[in-house]
């Protein structure tokens, strides 16, 4: 019989469909494998950190978080000052980088004369391309002496009633590390903010302009509410960088486990710089385990801040309704 039955044709179509489904399945399998690979790396890092820090965790428990000394000679380890230093320098950096960065972005988009807009934006992004060891050098050779000789005495003279600006002047200090971090996270916040501010729809700006709003009011009521989520994203990236930044901070923070105090002019320590200073000499056993536990703590702190940030963004997103198009 020459003529094929309608039924066989359907079967043929089904078979072809079957092939396509097979290729789909293969493709899905590959992508799942790739995802598992990423998950495995994260899990592996976490597992290595946890298992290697077990000796220190068992020996010191929560005292590891509060102990002042990181003392290989007496085999007593604690990273209280380093946790404090990490949080203080990062908070300082974010606190000052947000207004400067967002302000720069607003200037670049809304107030900058057009011909110099792109060159300026490029220069800002160039800041991000400078290797951190060079920031460290700049901080050590230029910033630290200047802060110690000029800025710190000036701050103490006029703002000395605040606990942050009391105490002796140190060039290599939490303050210097904070300032270096401000410079380092600035390009991140600026360029992300600039990108999202640029995406504010013209219709939103015009809505405000048509009501007789000034330029600042347009930014305040149309641009910033619209860009809020994106800017927060940039801030989270910046915070991650500040918490984990090692080289530049280690070069200027002083690496002294000073007692915890609000004074920013004190020398300090951060978790990342503890690792950078000690990993080379760490002898197997408790010492090594303590260095790894410092790493575990950086990991956990970064994780927690990221989770908090995600929740923040999620809640912001839910308050923004959709725009009809």
């Amino acid at each position: 019989m020459q003529q094929s039955l309608p039924g066989t044709r359907n079967v043929a179509r089904l078979l072809r469909w079957g092939n396509r489904r097979l290729s789909d399945t293969i493709f899905r399998g590959i992508t799942i494998l790739l995802v598992l690979f990423v998950v495995a790396i994260v899990a592996g890092v976490a597992w290595i950190l946890i298992s290697n820090s077990m000796p220190a965790i068992q020996k010191f428990g929560f005292r590891f978080l509060t102990n002042q000394a990181f003392d290989p000679v007496h085999n007593v380890f604690g990273v209280g000052p380093a946790i404090f230093g990490t949080l203080v320098t990062s908070a300082f950096a974010i606190l000052f980088a947000i207004p400067i960065g967002v302000g720069t972005a607003i200037f670049l988009v809304d107030f900058c004369p057009r011909p110099i807009q792109s060159p300026l934006a490029f220069i800002v992004e160039l800041l991000a391309a400078v290797p951190s060891v060079i920031y460290g050098l700049f901080g050590f050779l230029v910033l630290a002496p200047w802060l110690q000789g000029s800025a710190e005495p000036w701050l103490q003279k006029y703002l000395g009633f605040l606990p942050f600006f009391q105490g002796a002047f140190h060039g290599l200090s939490l303050f210097t590390a904070g300032v270096i971090l401000v410079i380092m996270v600035l390009p991140l916040i600026t360029s992300v903010s600039r990108e999202v501010i640029l995406t504010t729809p013209t219709t939103q700006r015009e809505a405000l302009l048509a009501l007789g709003a000034t330029r600042w009011e347009v930014i305040r009521h149309a641009v910033l509410p619209y860009s809020r989520i994106g800017i927060t994203g940039g801030v989270i990236l910046a915070l991650g960088r500040a918490l984990g930044e090692t080289m530049a901070v280690t070069m200027v923070v002083g690496n002294q486990a000073s007692p915890i105090s609000p004074g920013l002019f004190n020398s300090g320590y951060t978790l990342a710089s503890v690792i950078a200073n000690q990993f080379n000499e760490a002898t197997p056993g408790l010492f090594f385990s303590a260095v790894i536990e410092a790493g575990l703590l950086v990991f956990i702190i970064t994780l927690i801040t990221n989770i908090i940030a995600r929740v923040l963004i999620y809640r912001m997103g839910h308050r923004v309704g959709g725009l009809a198009t």
Binding site: R114, P201, T203, Q204, R205, E206, A207, L208, L209, A210, L211, G212, A213, T214, E217, H221, A222, P225, Y226, R228, R319, V320, G321, G322, L323, A324, T325
Partner: protein, 250 residues
Amino acid sequence: MAIEVRNLNVWYGRSQALHDITLTIESQGATAIIGPSGCGKSTFVRCLNRMHEEIAGGRVEGEVLVEGINIYERSIQPVYVRRHIGMVFQRPNPLPTRSIFENVAIGLRLNGLARGDALKEIVERSLTQAALWDEVKDRLNESAGQLSGGQQQRLCIARALAIEPKIILMDEPASALDPISTFQIEDLMRELRKTYPVVIVTHNMQQAARVAEKTVFFLQGRLIEQGETGKFFSRPQKKETEDYISGRFS
């Protein structure tokens, strides 16, 4: 008369968008501005509240007199002009992060015109004028983004009305809406034209015929013909107008 436009020439960078427009708009009633895409009709209304100069490269020459005052006078701030001339755009543009109430109140707050109970009263009045009050009175605190497209556009009209403008400009206010919402907006236009001079840009000739007492025809940046709407459509004077109305080009 509400607006008197004299020898208006407008540029986008080097290309001239409007050539020597001279036109009078009466202090009551609706004026429709029609013409094919790119004829400069939107550009024209954006010159009536100094919105055109917000675009990079936008430049305006000539005079626009509103109640006898040239709004392009050096001493006059564009912000001041826009505060007195309301504008409704092609796409509904409520502020999505703000509540329905705040969307109407924002113009009043920005310009320091009212607060407290007086503010609430004006918001209610404006929403009623925009035929939206009954639909939103129980959810004034919900986000404006929750409303449908037609409701959002009426919200934008309420927002423009709240600061009591002297003139209302509408730039194709119904072109992004469904037929029912379009009719609601047109009803609203007929209501508004009793109290305000209304200038409506539209590419829809039926709409012009339905809502406007006067119709102006633009073609390639030039004012071709203007006249009382009935006459304009039944007995056009110029060949270009007749061609356009009869659909010989679009």
